[in-house]
């Protein structure tokens, strides 16, 4: 393992070179974030005002992306939709990794009974068909955006715990841990002050990947009619509500669909790159 270490050191000393694709992905995520924060300022129209007499129309100078069945401005709805597209996935990624980090640190460092209980539980959770569980449990509980977020947090904990645990196992045999132990440093301090900063890049990279999966899953549940409340401007919900106007205004479907793909692809590219660059 000495050769990669030298390579690693050399690589770390080089100035950070970010590929164009990653820059574009970061730009896209920035743009979506701006839409989420400054929705009111940017949107050309209210996403809620209905014009039942107008109905669904093709793009025109007045409505750049046209209107939906209830005459609402599609572009404004897509811009406002950035909110539910970002907030939920951030909560899922952060929430799942907060719990998974704790479980993974304990399981990987302490070993013994704690480790075998946590590992068994992770194995069991991973044997469940998670996407199916998400649909059925969220649906039976009556749906709703935050119900969906909560169920996804629970389902994401197990795979995330496995990731943190194996990262901890990789740190454990290293000399600095032995040094810390021989100095009599407490277990808690070793876990949170010494190991945690070393595995933080891995956690960050996988959290970004979690964001992408959570975005797709939340949009999917809203598409099935189980996520956000009816009327909420949300990309998945727009696909559900506008299913029947594919002929009269396809933009009302293709725009939110494109935004889901763009955001998810961007997050996955960034996550993969972080993993490649900092976590290996």
């Amino acid at each position: 393992m000495t050769a990669p270490a030298i390579g690693e050191a050399r690589r770390r000393n080089q100035p950070l070179r970010v590929p164009i694709v990653i820059l574009v992905a970061v730009l896209i995520i920035t743009a979506v974030t701006i839409c989420a924060v400054l929705g009111e300022r940017i949107a050309p129209d209210s996403p809620f005002v209905q014009r039942l007499g107008v109905g669904d129309t093709l793009p025109s100078p007045a409505h750049i992306a046209g209107t939906d069945l209830l005459g609402r401005d599609v572009l404004s709805r897509v811009i406002y939709g950035a909110r539910t597209a970002l907030v939920g996935p951030v909560v899922v990624a952060a929430g799942a990794f907060a719990i998974a980090t704790l479980l993974g640190l304990l399981s990987g460092y302490l070993g013994g009974l704690v480790d075998s209980v946590i590992t068994r539980w992770v194995d069991f959770m991973l044997a469940l068909p998670a996407p199916l569980v998400a649909i059925v449990v969220v649906g039976v509980m009556g749906g709703g955006y935050w119900t969906a977020v909560l169920v996804l947090v629970v389902l994401f904990i197990a795979p995330d715990t496995r990731i943190v645990r194996s990262a901890v196992l990789e740190q454990r045999p290293r000399p600095y841990i032995d040094a810390a132990r021989s100095l009599g440093i407490s277990k808690r301090r070793i876990l949170f002050v010494h190991i945690l900063p070393n595995i933080a890049p891995i956690i960050l990279a996988y959290a970004v990947l979690d964001f992408g999966f959570a975005l797709v899953n939340l949009a999917g549940l809203s598409f099935l009619g189980l996520g956000v409340e009816p009327g909420t401007p949300d990309w998945g919900r727009m696909l559900f509500e506008n299913r029947n106007i594919l002929f009269s205004n396809p933009v009302a479907l293709l725009l939110p669909a494109g935004m889901i793909i763009l955001t998810a692809v961007s997050m996955n590219l960034i996550g993969d790159w972080l993993l490649e660059r900092f976590a290996k």
Binding site: L128, P131, I135, G139, V140, L224, A264
Partner: protein, 321 residues
């Protein structure tokens, strides 16, 4: 020795699958109690709530018994093939499921063939042409496929090939084998893309590693043709990791089928499940969920056994440990 060690592997896998199935069935049973409100009301549906009907429902679902006794009685009914009555049409859940199974089975089979055939081919080609533009194209497709959900690719396919080009029908499951295959082509592709991305990724990675092994260089030095090295040795060895991903593939297909059936308005089990969820038809939800989950667990069991059969390392390793 080989026969008995294989038996040990099979028995061990069954010993894991049975508790898993029991826990899943308990979860499915508990759905009645997870649903907000009184279970009797959930099971009543749109029927009039006279005391006689309410008492009949309490008796039918043993709601006055302790929870575990309820579960035991429910499970014994399920094992005998009685999944209860749908609250919508007062029809047996099993007969409704039987009527919808065909479309879902056809769709899943079609996309599984696409996933394995095209996925392994693309992965192999990318690995063989490692570092070229073709490889990069396949990798890009992989990233896209993993990120783009089934319902989104489905809508794009529907628009381009159904609405713009009129190559494929945009509605209905079709009748007869060829007509059905034609109707289900776009749904099967939409379903296949995201799952295929996983297969492409795994095949490519496994194959790149396999191509760099000493035996490949030795075979080249001995003058064996590239085609023979690729198909007879490298591909065969690279497929083992794909088999381990079978669990992901099955779950991807089953969950994806739900989204695809809703996107393309197909009358299959997935659409039936969503319909039942939106109408709070608990017995129906229990029926389809149990079927999907059992299918996933049993397929995984079967794959594990096949895995032990093809790769001798697995059965000797496990038995030795």
């Amino acid at each position: 020795m080989t026969g008995s060690s294989l038996m040990v592997v099979v028995m061990r896998r069954i010993a894991v699958a049975i508790p898993l199935l029991l826990v899943i069935s308990f979860g499915v049973f508990a759905l009645v109690h997870i649903a907000p409100g009184d279970p009797v009301r959930s099971l009543l549906g749109a029927r009039t709530s006279d005391p006689v009907t309410l008492a009949a429902i309490r008796a039918r679902y043993h709601l006055d018994d302790p929870l575990l006794v309820q579960y035991g009685k429910w499970l014994s009914q399920v094992i005998r093939g009685d999944l209860g009555v749908s609250i919508q049409g007062n029809q047996a859940v099993t007969s409704i499921i039987a009527g919808r199974l065909g479309v879902t089975a056809f769709l899943s089979l079609m996309s599984t063939i696409l996933v394995l055939g095209l996925g392994i081919l693309l992965g192999a080609v990318a690995a063989f042409r490692h570092g070229t533009w073709l490889d990069r194209l396949v990798v890009a497709f992989g990233v896209f496929g993993v990120s783009a959900p089934t319902f989104v690719t489905g809508i794009f396919l529907l628009y381009v090939f159904g609405v713009m080009l009129h190559w494929f029908p945009i509605f209905g499951p079709g009748s007869g084998f060829l007509d059905r295959a034609w109707h289900l082509t776009l749904p099967a592709i939409a379903l296949a893309i995201s799952v295929m991305a996983i297969v492409v990724k795994i095949t490519r990675a496994a194959m790149i590693e396999e191509l760099s092994r000493d035996y490949v260089m030795f075979a080249r030095a001995r003058g064996l043709s590239s085609r023979r090295i690729l198909f007879a040795y490298v591909l065969r060895n690279s497929l083992i990791p794909v088999i381990t991903a079978a669990g992901l593939i099955v779950v991807g297909i089953v969950a994806g089928a739900i989204y695809v059936e809703v996107t393309f308005s197909l009358p299959g089990l997935g659409a039936l499940t969503i319909d039942a969820i939106l109408k709070r038809d608990i017995p129906m939800i229990q029926g389809t969920t149990l079927l999907f989950a059992a299918f996933v667990v049993l397929t995984n069991l079967l794959v594990d056994v096949i895995y032990a059969l093809i790769d001798p390392r697995i059965r000797f390793c496990r038995v030795a440990s």
